[in-house]
Symmetry: C2
Subunit: 984 residues, 2 copies
Amino acid sequence: MRTSATTLYFLLSVYLVRANPIETSYKASCEVCHPTKEGYTNVHLIPHTHDDVGWLKTVDQYFYGQRPDIQKAAVQIIIDSVVDELSKYPDRRFIYVETAFLKQWWDIQSDERRAKMRTLIEKGQLELISGAWSMHDEAVTHYHSIIDQFTLGFGTIDQMFDGLSCAKPKIGWQIDPFGHARETASILAQMGFDGLFFARLDHQDRARRIRDKEMEFVWRASESLGNASSIFTQAFYKHYSAPSGYCFDLVHCNDQPINENPNSGDYNVPNRVNSFIEFVNSQKDTYQTEHMLVTMGDDFTYQQAASWFDNIDRLIKHVNAEQKNGSMINLLYSTPSCYLQAVHRADKVWKTKSDDLFPYADGDHSFWTGYYTSRPTLKYMERRGNNLLQVCKQLSVLAELKQEKWEDLDSLREAMGVMQHHDAITGTEKQHVADDYAKMLHKGMLDCAATAAKAINKLSAKITEAPTVNYESCLLLNVSQCEISESNDRFVVTLYNPLAQEASTYVRLPVQNFKYTVSQGSVPIATQMLKIPDHVLRVPYRTSTAVQELVFKATIPPLGFQTFYVTKTAEESAVPAPVEDDGKFTIQGNLIQANVDPTTGLFESLYSKQNGLNYTGLSQNFYYYLGSNGDMESSQSSGAYIFRPNGNATVINATPEITTFKGELVQEIHQKFSDWVSQIIRVYADNEFVEFEWMIGPIPAQLRLVDPGKEVVTRYLAQDLVTNGVFYTDSNGRGSIERKRDYRPTWDLDLKEEIAGNYFPVTTFITTKNETEMTVLTDRAQGGTSLQDGTLELMLHRRLLHDDGRGVGEALNEKYEDPNSGVSQGMIARGRHLFSFAPISDALGTTATAKARRWSRDNMILAPWAFFAPTDLSDAQWLENYEVVYQGINNKLPENVNILTLEPMKGGEEVLVRFEHFYEPNDDPALSANSLVPIYNLTKRFGTDKMIEEMSLGANRRLAEVSSSRLQFRTDGAGAEKERNIAP
Amino acid sequence: MRTSATTLYFLLSVYLVRANPIETSYKASCEVCHPTKEGYTNVHLIPHTHDDVGWLKTVDQYFYGQRPDIQKAAVQIIIDSVVDELSKYPDRRFIYVETAFLKQWWDIQSDERRAKMRTLIEKGQLELISGAWSMHDEAVTHYHSIIDQFTLGFGTIDQMFDGLSCAKPKIGWQIDPFGHARETASILAQMGFDGLFFARLDHQDRARRIRDKEMEFVWRASESLGNASSIFTQAFYKHYSAPSGYCFDLVHCNDQPINENPNSGDYNVPNRVNSFIEFVNSQKDTYQTEHMLVTMGDDFTYQQAASWFDNIDRLIKHVNAEQKNGSMINLLYSTPSCYLQAVHRADKVWKTKSDDLFPYADGDHSFWTGYYTSRPTLKYMERRGNNLLQVCKQLSVLAELKQEKWEDLDSLREAMGVMQHHDAITGTEKQHVADDYAKMLHKGMLDCAATAAKAINKLSAKITEAPTVNYESCLLLNVSQCEISESNDRFVVTLYNPLAQEASTYVRLPVQNFKYTVSQGSVPIATQMLKIPDHVLRVPYRTSTAVQELVFKATIPPLGFQTFYVTKTAEESAVPAPVEDDGKFTIQGNLIQANVDPTTGLFESLYSKQNGLNYTGLSQNFYYYLGSNGDMESSQSSGAYIFRPNGNATVINATPEITTFKGELVQEIHQKFSDWVSQIIRVYADNEFVEFEWMIGPIPAQLRLVDPGKEVVTRYLAQDLVTNGVFYTDSNGRGSIERKRDYRPTWDLDLKEEIAGNYFPVTTFITTKNETEMTVLTDRAQGGTSLQDGTLELMLHRRLLHDDGRGVGEALNEKYEDPNSGVSQGMIARGRHLFSFAPISDALGTTATAKARRWSRDNMILAPWAFFAPTDLSDAQWLENYEVVYQGINNKLPENVNILTLEPMKGGEEVLVRFEHFYEPNDDPALSANSLVPIYNLTKRFGTDKMIEEMSLGANRRLAEVSSSRLQFRTDGAGAEKERNIAP
């Protein structure tokens, strides 16, 4: 038992706080693997199904098999069928991956069926692989949510099987995601996984690796963390399907089953055996060991598992029978774990890799870089979902709520788990599925907010008879709409801060044209009114009476809240008019000043009041690419997955209309580029960055045949920045990763798509630098690049009229339909970039990147969350009834440590806490150092009567057990010196 | 125990001869039906699968699921899946029909799986329905083979389940056959079935019956047999599919599964429940009782039974839940037996029917009368298969062979069982399937012949050291080809007679151009040489050195054989030349003389030497219809199923070339109508009928788009016969049934296809009469009609170039491909008609029809079978070693009784014998009378130490048990007086 956590740079430390030590029910038999044969090519057949947690159909449609007209896929039946077929013959093996579906199945099973599945797991016949709620996308997901959804999956599995050791996943199985992130590899390693398997990598990379026998390697996923974040990785030879001709799926395939009755006219054993042997011979030399992994399955296969198992049974029997004729091929049922153990036993020295696997291209003209941006509003909503989920989970712990209903927390936990799926947040699902995701997420957010409201009520009540406050969240604040602030004379705003540090924020309340007072503990505070810009007022689905926004600055304690009391006065207030500018178009706060060129109306320079430097030669504007519909070189269209522009980008308007609004708290320049492109450039009084709040849409679109669709980007330019093609993007919002134009670190790139092929996923930031660093933080995932030195380009929104041929079968043509008129028009997206231009490290030595990461966390990822409630009480009465300020942790944590997770487990019986050291070794002279965090008494839930156990990242296994049992693979030495530096 | 059989007119009596009495293992629980609710509409949901024993794929392809590209259908998996899913919930029910597949499944199951199925049967969850080897066609099958294939199915079931009473089928389930035969109904009744269900009947008949609530009726299937051959019959409302929108098949359907999770965005219980209730309401008033049968399944459904059962579970639950809201609909899992018991309990008075259900039309222009003739060579081969099978089975009993291998008898038994399937003998299967059937049947015939050879060896060996004779069958005698007779100097022909009466036949041996002697027990007998006609010599797939046929007459004891010894002399023999006719073109034997018009070359008159009558005004010629490709009235094409001529028939040649050959044993006129139509008119010395041996093909066919294909018919005309549109055809080769042109007995026919709609199935004969009767006997099933008074028309061969849209997806364009040249041409068919023109009863009072039926039996169905063997022995040596004459039964049976079946059961442990009284009440003054047949000592296997038990027709239940337990249904009185006449 440890009473405090030593957090080393960039480490995630995980603790479970509970009344009693963890008991795991352990069954040794689950590790039984079929024996392999030395000297033979051992072909590990891995029966599997790939069950998208939504794609062409919604999650529930997939589970129940509804809409068979779209896709014949019923996951309930897959699991049923596999359980039955495994039970028939103990030799058979299967892996199951998606816990979202497994749980849905489990919930409607009898005890007998549940026990049957448990038995299969205990016998090692069924192996739960990966175990997250869904198979997350790796490009556009944030590590916070990745970890959460693994935790949800693992916890669910522990709950189903009562902590059964055999049931705990030990393998990463990212077979379908469209490229692979280094941070994902790191997370999987830290969860204690022994290996990582996937199918998709750049086709040129694949060809090179097959040639050089490097389909297997050890991925060194973090320099900071060394071996703890290294993971053995294997890319499949081709895809995750069964070998060509050997897909035995009754529903989806047309390959020939094996007829082993020699009396039959259709007996085909020799033919089926020989061509399988040919297949094995064609691939076996690609691998370093005498083991070869062959996936036997595909999307939604095994709805009738018998058709697979019967035939694989026969295949094994008859191929192995050839051994007596001298064949050196040995087939066996296996799982990735068994395969990995066999590979591990071979004790080879493996190559390493330390970059990532983006972008993914499956053809010279097919870069899967469009989905980095596809469905920008869904991507934003997901990010808001995470923010709220952390708020609810923390509040739930702090208020010691009992988790009783699914709606308490699981509703949003699960919705967020679903959203991480590689056809959810990616935007590569059908429209009706995207709608269902949004609905599910919305429901989750409402449920979660209700739980948070319950917690705030409990934590804030000063007296027992304090009336319950009906707190609500305003989920449409990004179109300046909030029913409570708009239509009440008196209301409160309680801001909760999910950071372990004090937080400041500028609150913006949509209000009518009256004057308002805001008081904090009966003391009125400074406010400012701002006109809601015309382009927002025009948004067709906005139904609001608000015409202006009431702005004030709030400061909130760590893991705490602060309540503000707002009163509408009787006095009307004219909507603030633009200032008559002196021709300079300058906006500023206490730290910086941003300037717009009066001639062009475009951003032109930035002045730092802190260091006195004036950065000129800057600019920013909007452009669009026309999507390709295919051309002479390739029929590839631009679509939901794939970005393929037809030529260079066209500027939308080089001289936008501008108006300026100024005040003490915030100053803004509103730019109108066209009917469908507008922007606010904004500087808050105390912020070091400039906000660019863009709004795009409806992107004009004509008839499908004549219009290829448009993909809108913004470009930030620093004229004098010599960057040699190098820029940086984040990896799942955590570490940063170097990118170089027209280049890949691990093979000689032959680049046929010079724009799309230089796009990379930007989860939270993109940066480029020389002595100065230009950084753009995003409020959601976007595709980004630097096509010329000194530029950063981010794709904001896409509307395309052709499908790109990767299965979704729809053009990415998001529309809003007016429920009254029935008229539909393209989707509008609005969002913010935080722009910073600064020396690569500041006076204290903090790198601009580290600061940017922190701004992202504070403003985008874990921003304070506002709860609104109308009230009949006066300000004074309010103070009699309620605490207006609350701090959840007893002591402020060291500045370099954050609480990544604070959440109730097992219905509140246990508490999970994750501490995150937020800085890499060279980020900051002071903050990069170790810190000691006292865990006991961190909150009142962490009493000394509790057990505190240090866990692996996924919170389902003790760290010590993982560290001692994880398979170690020898590497060729690169990065080996780091191994000495890993955390104890 | 009965020691002798009283056989009443036309009755089939069945006995099992065995060492011990039959023990059946009886489980009362299998009759458990779910309770119904009085006052409610009880909807009996019948989960079922319809598994064609070959159609688009071969039997084995269907079983193993091969060729999924053609059809996703794997019966092994269906049965597996159903067993698993039934085992999960005891409420669930299923029926299984095709024993051919059930056996194939059973053979590869573990004891545990077998026990599981047995348990399901004992619990009444799984009901074996119909239970024949396949679901036989009813138009073109012979009762002999129908009974055999039920016996095979029943015996197999008894063997699998150890005589379990619950497993014995009690319901006829002819859901797919294309029309229904009265004789089939009679057979099902005599097997003890309680009811008969089917889907297909003429669309006008259906409409009338729905209107008059006569979809249920009691079919009085034989006047002679009364109640014993009456059966409750129900036609389905529409088809045997699930109700529209409720096909829950994962593989074949796209209907919406039920999502019963109210939290789901795709919850659809109300919608699914309401539209099912609407469906029930739309049909329930069609039925006489408050019970309604709803089939839940279709072709090859239930490959994933869970998708059905899960959804039916939910449907029952939620529809019945509406009862609390006043719904009067009650859903239940049921089986046809349970449904029938409920209907029986209602104790209604039912309408009766005594005709049959041919022809079947599913549209005004869609008469399924083409398949009566489709694939004539396969239809002929099947009939030969039956002939041989009876020979082998009898010989097997007589020689007391032990059945050890599948090849002994089961090979042909099963092949014949398969051939009865309604897409086998019908010719409505794909070409590659037809090829597989032929291959299977050929293999069966070779196996069976080998068994017969073994028996003959055993029965004929005079001395223990007699060398084994390598008897072979010559299966290509119909193109005058037989390797043994052609290429050996000395050989024997042993003819076996499967009749219980002495048989005479004219043997024709293909030989080279030498002289031959034939001796019977060392005595040379009369022979005659005949030229093999040119049109046979030209057949491209004939590979023979024979140029002439050696003819002799053989007489063989009942159930016995006679060996003939044949010696080739050194002397060459010129092939017999045509006689120089005196211009009369007359051929004759001892009983009749047939005359051909010297001008036209066509048959013109018949003279009977027995009664001295000369019948003139006769004629016969060949015609063809052009098949329709669809026209303004309907897009219906003529095809494998459907006959739709485009206009009237065209004569092929009104003046054929003729040549005459005369001899003591036989006289022939060879007619050449064209390159592809030829005929021999033949009179044997001692026969009362004229043989017309036709050969058709290759039917010329051009490119598909321009050529509709041709359908070739022969017409027999008796100019002066006034028949008032009435003619008669047989029903499955047994009773005859009256047909009337442009008329149906049970509804007002609105006939849009005056040719096709007057076609009826002719299994063995067609006849029309006034005082004189004109009868044509066929050697295979053919479509036949009488389009004008005094004519009989039979369709001989069809070649069509368009598919007729009933699923087979191929044009009926049979071809023979030369293995050397690769050139393909249309299939040639050759066959015989026996033609008789005589007073309706002869001097003894025997009706012409009864005589015709007997000729058919003696010459076509149970003809003597020739076994050939080369020999090194001299005639004398042969006689030293072998008996050359053998009689299997100790006493000749009464002339009106035949042994329909004599076969070993349970590997030879038991013997099954069926006696058939061959005459209907008015057939013959003497022969129609009762006869007494001594059973004990019939053969030496029938010793008095044996038990003899009288069985129902299917030989799986004691007759007494069946008679006492069969459900009796009250009828409206029509035919009720007959009920008093049934056999005791």
